[in-house]
Symmetry: C2
Subunit: 174 residues, 2 copies
């Protein structure tokens, strides 16, 4: 499927409610359980998503629209959200993610038309990329982290499911 | 994490709203897109989940409680939901899944106490299993299919994300 602005926004609009539906009212074991050293809990994933929402997608969109290939994107610190939101409850994080996402979607409506999708910027590692690729990546980044959350939760029951493990691909997924 | 009845129910309670948040108002391209032959679209996954919800988890729970290891579970037809719900809209399916899930959780509350979790039944392939393993599998089965939905959606943008593909593990996940 090619990236289409309206189709991509459909998914971006759903993510705050999806996270809330998935994680609200879960007990701490689910929210803060991870998969071991150097892995993230669902709580940490929401912190990462919120931080990236604050500093990445719309910033890079503006860089492309205002500077094209004359300015390289700032690199992203994937774990900066953990410091930024230290001490926040999950509910506060979900509220913050939701409000920044809604604001970003309004900004996107104002800034970007379909004919802008071929405009180009420069990624610090990948080199030239298009605005369409950036916005498709925003969508898939959401889905990637929803996937991470459900995998992390599923792996808590690795032993508990007994012999059914072999039918539940998620448990042994990397 | 060991299976605990109340913790498991927390996740089971969330799934209908999670599916609704994830899929409502998405256009047909997202809902009916699959990954090629012998793969399922998000719409088909919801049909499968609803069918299994109608015929599997509580039935097998009753078999364990009423017959123990004297009766083997009926096998499950993973694609029977596709025929059962032919022509249903996604909205109708989500409503049906939600009402059967809620009803099943009420039945679970009535039928099963913590001390029942070690009771045993017989799976047609795996042999003896415990009620706790069956109920943990119910939870992970939900998560497995949420994972399948987000992966299938993400893969629609395999080409669209351009060079970012290498940072988005979900796109090349099996």
């Amino acid at each position: 499927m090619d990236f289409a602005l309206e189709h991509g926004k459909e998914v971006l609009r759903r993510t705050p409610d999806t996270l809330r539906a998935m994680l609200s009212e879960l007990s701490e074991d689910w929210i803060s359980g991870d998969e071991g050293p150097d892995t993230w809990s669902p709580y940490q994933v929401v912190g990462h998503l919120t931080h990236i929402e604050e500093c990445d997608w719309i910033d890079r969109t503006r860089v492309i629209l205002e500077h094209g290939t004359d300015r390289v994107f700032d690199p992203v610190d994937r774990e900066a959200g953990f410091t930024r939101f230290r001490g926040w409850t999950l509910g506060d994080l979900l509220d913050r993610f939701s409000s920044v996402r809604n604001s970003n979607l309004e900004t996107l409506d104002e800034l970007v038309e379909v004919h802008d999708l071929e405009r180009r910027g420069v990624h610090p590692v990948f080199g030239e990329v298009t605005l369409g690729q950036l916005l498709a990546t925003w969508v898939v980044h959401d889905l990637n982290h929803l996937d991470q959350i459900v995998k992390t939760m599923a792996k808590q029951y690795t032993q508990a499911v007994g012999p059914w493990r072999e039918l539940l691909g998620i448990i042994d997924a990397p």
